[in-house]
């Protein structure tokens, strides 16, 4: 409980740091957001129109007042107004986040469903040909960037089967689940492949570690079946590193998979931030980066708490 409180106490400090960093960084991008928003039409604005637009978006004030107002707004649940969308930043984020969350969840499901059995299989067939095969595939998987795999998948589908991934307008899961899944499955496989490779490698090595522990040997000598040794005795302890890895990876995926979203033309959080940076949409960049950082910290905290649930011997925060 103490640990939880101490970790939670660091949240505001880290978020404050993130807020300062992103606030300063985005303002150092050359150009201004009104020109970025209106393009060549910005030249048609009279100085008074430009001033009133700047006032509307709150970018007419000195930087410290802008920062102060932004922080004050956050405390009231107001992340500002996006210059690009002309809507509250929180609304834009809430609109994009479900896709990112769904993509992260699907990738994790693929990674765990493939990676864990493969890792356990390799560990129980240690040093055999099948183990070597799994290790080679996992190593290749871990070394394949998502954008290489994504393009390869699209190429194979179009050249080999004459079909293209379902792109076009994105269908949210709750509106058209079938169309949604047909749009999401390939991006999820693209992201899940390298993730599955990492899960395979970590499951295998942690399973091998656990299988050589004394308590597993004791269970075997007491006549426990191979299945029971693996599932009941070894697996729960071998899971801890898998949980860590999956949690961290999931936390990163919640920040949006910029490149995969770009390849498959998905309107996720990552692509939105990329566009917002290029559009100098200060409020949207600031709000979404803060949101992503907050999610990442929460996921990391949950991962730490999951250790305790999996292994009660671990006491977090004790040296």
């Amino acid at each position: 409980m103490n640990y939880l409180m101490r970790r939670l106490a660091t949240f505001p400090l880290v978020l404050l740091g993130v807020s300062i960093l992103v606030f300063v960084a985005i303002r150092m991008v050359p150009g201004d957001s009104i020109t970025a928003m209106l393009g060549t039409e910005a030249g048609l604005l009279t100085p008074a129109q430009r001033d009133s637009l700047a006032a509307y978006f709150g970018i007419d004030q000195p930087w410290f007042i802008q920062y102060w107002r932004w922080i004050g707004g956050i405390l009231h649940g107001n992340l500002g107004i996006s210059v690009t969308y002309g809507r509250p930043v929180l609304d834009v984020i809430i609109e994009r986040f479900p896709l990112t969350l769904e993509l992260a969840v699907l990738s994790m499901i693929i990674a765990l469903a493939v990676g864990m059995p493969a890792g356990i299989f390799a560990a129980t067939h240690n040093e055999k040909l099948s183990d070597l095969g799994v290790r080679i595939v996992a190593m290749i998987g871990q070394s394949t960037p998502s954008f290489v795999l994504g393009l390869l998948i699209i190429y194979t589908l179009s050249a080999g089967f004459g079909v293209l991934p379902a792109m076009g307008e994105f269908a949210p899961l709750w509106q058209d689940p079938l169309r949604n899944l047909s749009q999401m499955i390939l991006p999820a496989i693209t992201l899940g492949f390298a993730f599955a490779a990492s899960v395979t490698r970590i499951s295998r090595s942690s399973m091998l570690d656990v299988l050589s522990d004394d308590y597993v040997r004791t269970a075997r000598s007491k006549g426990a079946s191979a299945r029971s040794v693996i599932w009941r005795h070894a697996l729960p302890n071998a899971l801890i590193p898998v949980v860590t890895l999956s949690g961290i990876e999931f936390g990163y995926l919640l920040g949006g998979a910029v490149i995969v979203e770009q390849i498959y033309a998905l309107p996720g959080l990552g692509r939105m931030v990329l566009d917002a940076i290029q559009q100098r949409d200060y409020a949207l960049v600031q709000g979404s980066v803060l949101f992503i950082a907050f999610n990442f910290m929460i996921v990391n905290l949950l991962v730490d708490l999951a250790y305790v649930a999996l292994d009660p011997r671990i006491r977090l925060g004790e040296s």
Binding site: S143, V148, D209
Partner: protein, 279 residues
């Protein structure tokens, strides 16, 4: 020499070592301009030629030789990867040692700053830095270097803290050794092993991040060649000229594979605890 022998007697070390060695050679040739053709010369009559004896990997939409561009691109990617990892290693080591040695307030401040950087997804942080400074080789180096600095800081700080509490450090203090002597001779030398493993693995991530930035148009700028850029350019020509995608894609993948294999081997060699369960 002993290290090289150890690497080459390790299964994945051997493969990784050979891959990295070949890439280094190609990178040097690419940087020196010793390519079959000039990578930016446009042979307009030979546009989109499939691989043949004159153009081993075919030509692109502008009639540029893909093999030459690939060599130049590997040179470019490796330059960014090496300098950015050197940046991150130096910055991370100095910060990690300072945090561990000076302790208390310094430790708190440095590690909170690292927490802030770690809370950003790597590619987003790199994107933000590149957009601020404008795309280019040096910007990519600094951006990727900053992204990986927190990881090196953590890798150094943890073991440095435990080394600081060891008897030989107390003994050195008792003999009147200066702080800088203890930090460089006793702490840093003992950190070479974990740092070596981390550097090798970071080179793989760095290649990946550089390719990702270039793929998004924020890394190396045309007409210069870069693997990520070549791959991005291949997207609209995938069906008519698949070689434009296959060669750079394989080049990125195999280079990362090489560093991953080498990193794994080094971890096995330098960290005996890991030997029990090579993954």
């Amino acid at each position: 020499m002993r290290m090289l022998r150890a690497i080459f007697s390790h299964g994945s070390g051997r493969i990784g070592g050979v891959i990295v060695g070949v890439y280094l050679l190609v990178a040097v040739l690419g940087m020196l301009g010793l390519t079959p053709h000039n990578p930016i010369t446009q042979f307009r009559v030979d546009r989109l030629h499939a691989p043949n004896s004159a153009y081993w990997m075919g030509t692109d939409l502008f009639g540029r030789d893909v093999a030459s561009r690939l060599m130049a691109g590997i040179g470019q990617s490796f330059t960014v990867a090496f300098f950015s990892v050197a940046f991150a290693t130096l910055a991370g080591t100095v910060l990690g040692l300072a945090a561990a040695w000076l302790g208390r307030r310094w430790d708190g401040v440095v590690m909170r700053i690292m927490d802030v950087l770690l809370a950003f997804p790597a590619i987003l942080l790199a994107l933000l830095i590149v957009t601020v400074a404008g795309p280019g080789t040096w910007t990519s180096i600094v951006a990727i270097g900053i992204v990986y600095t927190p990881i090196f800081t953590r890798v150094v700080r943890g073991p440095a803290l435990s080394l600081k509490a060891r008897e030989f450090v107390d003994a050195a203090r008792t003999f009147g050794s200066s702080s800088s002597y203890i930090v460089t001779r006793h702490l840093l030398l003992n950190l070479v092993a974990p740092l070596t493993v981390q550097v090798t693995l970071a080179l793989a991530w760095s290649l990946l991040t550089e390719a990702g930035l270039s793929f998004l148009g924020l890394g190396t700028q045309p007409p210069a060649a870069s693997l990520g850029l070549m791959l991005s350019d291949s997207r609209n020509l995938m069906e008519t000229a698949p070689w434009l995608m296959i060669f750079p894609g394989l080049a990125i993948m195999i280079s990362i594979l090489g560093f991953n294999l080498l990193g794994d081997a080094l971890r096995d060699i330098l960290d005996p605890k890991m030997r029990r369960a090579p993954a």
